[in-house]
Amino acid sequence: MKPVVFAARSLRREFRHGELATLAAALVLAVAALGAVGTLAARVERAIVASAAELLGGDLGVSARRSALPEDFVDEARRNGLATNRIVEFSSVVFSGDASQFTEIRAVDPAFPLRGALSVRGADGSARAAAAPAPGEVYADRAVLVGLGRSVGERLQIGGRDLAIAGEIVNAPGGSVFQFAPTVLMSLADADAAGLLGPGSRASYRLLVAGDAPAVDRYAAWAREHLPPAARLTSVEDAQQNLRSAFERGESFLRLAALLAALLAGIAVALAAQRFSRRKTEEVALLRCLGASRGEIVLALTLELALLAVPACLIGAALGLGLQEAAFAFARELLPGAVPALPWGPSLSAFLIGLAVLFGFALPPLLRLRDVEPMRVFRRDVDTRIRRFDALYLLPFAVGALLILIESGSGRLAGVLGGGLLGVALATLAVSLLLLKLLRAGGRRLPGALRFGLANLVRRRALTLIQVGALALSLTALDLLAVIGPSLLERWRADLPTDTPNYFVLNVQPDQRRDFEARLDGLGARNLSLLPLAAGKLVAINGQPPRAADYADERAGNWIEGEVRVSWSAEVPPSNRIVQGTWHGDPATPQLSVDQSWFEMFKLALGDTMTLRIGDQEVTATVSSVREVDWSSFRVNFFMMLDPAHGDALPHSFIASFHLPPDSAGLAELSRALPNVSLVDINAILDRVRDIIDRVSSAVTWVLGFSLIAGLLVLLAALAATADERRFEIALLRTLGANNGQLNAAVLGEFAALGLLAGVVAAGGAAPPASRWRARCSACPTTGRRSARSARSRSPRPCWSCWRAWPARGASRGRRR
């Protein structure tokens, strides 16, 4: 016998049978859910990387302070076929007539920008795409123009050179949102000619490269080896944190929902395979009788399922791709830049997982057909010897556990989730057995239909246990999703309440503070926070001048050589949390609170001293507390915070953040009245993040729908498991004279009893994990916040995505509030 031929022949007639349809549907569903979520996640990730490249202005940046990068960095990039762009950034005062303005100058070569687009507003007020500024021309931020009282078409002077203002910058790649002075973009040739880049200029040099991913990777590897001290690489992974994190929080939940859909599909597959093999028992007995070997039979049956499953998984993969295409189209406008190519990996892995689910969950009942006795052809009641324990039954658990491990990406979480589900399954068995026992004893007093239904359940005890188990598991999974899903969604939305600060203001002078506050009050601004800001240099740690070479973290060098900023306030700022020491009260000597990442970077201990030179003053402060700062909170945060009494004595300005309805007319008035302050509008970023959260939320709802359908499939499969017998019983009862009403009552009675059992167990089973989960969520420090450490680490671990953070949180010592 050729098993393939036999399998194909059998399938031709049988694929319409309920259980095979269930099996195929379950696989389609599982593969579609996993494929859609996986592909979408990979694609969005690519899109974010692409848009991050635009934000950065290239695919990779190499930056150095003080001295230009060695020439071979450019040569090596060219050798790798990469385009290069040199940028030099330095602070300078620009003049125009009597007016002057402190600015951040970016001198760029003509290749600017390698990625993304530069757009400027001309004298006519309309925005246009632009190339890098030509020699003799500059583009300037609006704040510069306001500060100088000039407009496009007029002139300004930088370093003694007279340059034409060719446009107002609308969007320039490579800038940073929270920069402390407005930008002027000029040509590198001019800056060089003006002698602005000479030794001692305190400029920072940046080389951006762009090209194919492999070439960029090769270059990055080379550059890492040849990096001069105090230089560093900036990869696109470092950019676009807020965009990335908005997606990540959704992604982890989507993965959970898809995973549970797949597990439920697995249960449906197991039930369907169980029914399939029950139905096939007679046939197997006959084939044995005709002399087919066990191997041939099992192979033929397995092939029959495979012939069904492979197309089902293919359809699932295609459906998944279609769904993600729709979802991506929906999300695409949020992701600036080129549409990333479709990644095939996730669909392929979903396809393979589908097959794994099939074999993991369907093989145990199929392989049991090996034990069918040929004598069964004569006597239906010759039961296959039921082995009490069969290692095969561990297979679905192994596959389930592996699936959880793969999709959740964390061994610990997989353990918790897998253990939880296993616990529910075991509890189901125990409780059902107990209930069945009780019902058998006490069932006699029940009304007729329910009694009959119960009698059936008791009689088919093994099947009943399987049914109740499957139902309880699927109800538990759905319950879990139903509890966690909405509360997570709520939490994400709560991250960015409508009055999140959407404007930042820099450079408010102490004598302007009253006026500024009064004006904002008049405009109806909300959530105003005004923090003092002093900029200076870190001159000593514990009395010794710090040396970059002493610290493993290359960023330490940047802070040692560059400018550091310090603020102060009486209260711990929102989105900050003291993790060591105590917040300074009103101390006699200066005290300092340090961000955790700094604390670790500079290998500090409580009680150490840090000396800062601010203007012409020096202040030596004792480190008295360590803060965990949420850098993604859209608030102004500082690495160092002094106590207010000693801070106020330092020369400083103020930095403010507040919320105003976008495009509020009063803001222009404010800019005119306080021309030296610069206003940063982050409405666009906030809108984008909010929009992403909204869309991710609706994607979550969709994927929840998948899980729901999977749950229904399990239900159908569970009920179908007894359908054949039930049909026979009904026919029998009918010949015995039962009327329709009585028959319906009997069937309903059985279902009611089944539902009751499953419901009781599931309610008991899902409540503890769900509430635990909730508790974990609320235990997160100010949800939606990313710990300072994770914000800095290479692979971001969003804290507010409780899903991923759960195990991590458990491991971190006592961070819970």
Partner: protein, 229 residues
């Protein structure tokens, strides 16, 4: 009893006991029997007397708890289930009371099964011919549920004979059929038996069917009471 070349099937002190709820139950007790090549044997007896059990043991579907079965020179009781399956594939055909056609396969494919199990290339042609022989040449592509009981049993007969087995075992082949159809099937069975020179062992309640066999044995309470030869 010795085994000679003319004996195709023999049983020696064949016993079968099963463990039931009321302890060990002996359902077959020291049955000895031998069947000559090409002969036909009917096993008759009251319901529950152990006929089917004996048939199953003779055909190598089950293992005896005592005694020996020799089928075409092979000791069945010493072979494992896989080896017995190989033997059955080669030597034995079956006809059942409830037909036992595979519902997912057409008449033709059902008949092809034994040939395909042997790995023969001409399975289709031979199956078509066998179906023609039982008068179903026009029903090749019908599925079991599209055939009447009598037609299904004819397909089963075609399947049983198609690979030219040395022995054919039948358990009440007419049990599920009305008298006329039963008679027709009986005729067909013996016609094919004559044509293929197959040894026939059948269990029946039908005296007419038993009468067609060259030899009839009676069973009572798991014991054999031989009648006329």
């Amino acid at each position: 009893m010795t085994f000679d070349s003319d004996t195709v099937l023999s049983a020696q002190k064949l016993s079968k006991a099963v463990d039931g709820p009321d302890g060990r139950l002996t359902i077959l007790e020291e049955v000895s029997l031998s069947v000559a090549r090409g002969a036909s044997l009917a096993i008759v007896g009251a319901s529950g007397s152990g006929k089917t059990t004996l048939l199953g043991l003779l055909a190598g579907l089950d293992r005896p708890t005592g005694g020996a079965v020799t089928l075409d020179g092979e000791r069945l009781d010493t072979l494992d289930e896989e080896a017995r399956a190989r033997l059955r594939r080669r030597l034995v055909g079956f006809v059942f009371q409830s037909f036992h056609l595979l519902p997912a396969l057409s008449a033709e494919e059902n008949v092809m099964l034994p040939l395909e199990l042997e790995g023969r290339d001409d399975a289709r042609e031979r199956a078509q011919q066998a179906l023609g022989d039982v008068g179903l040449g026009k029903r090749l592509h019908h599925y079991p549920h599209q055939l009447s009981g009598g037609e299904q049993q004819r397909v089963a007969l075609a399947r049983a004979f198609v690979h030219g087995p040395a022995l054919l075992f039948a358990d009440e082949p007419t049990g599920n059929l009305d008298q006329r159809t039963g008679a027709a099937i009986t005729d067909l069975l013996f016609a094919m038996n004559g044509e293929h020179a197959t040894t026939l062992v059948l269990v029946t309640h039908d005296p007419k069917l038993a009468a067609r066999c060259a030899r009839t044995v009676h069973m009572r309470d798991g014991r054999l009471i031989e009648d006329a030869a």
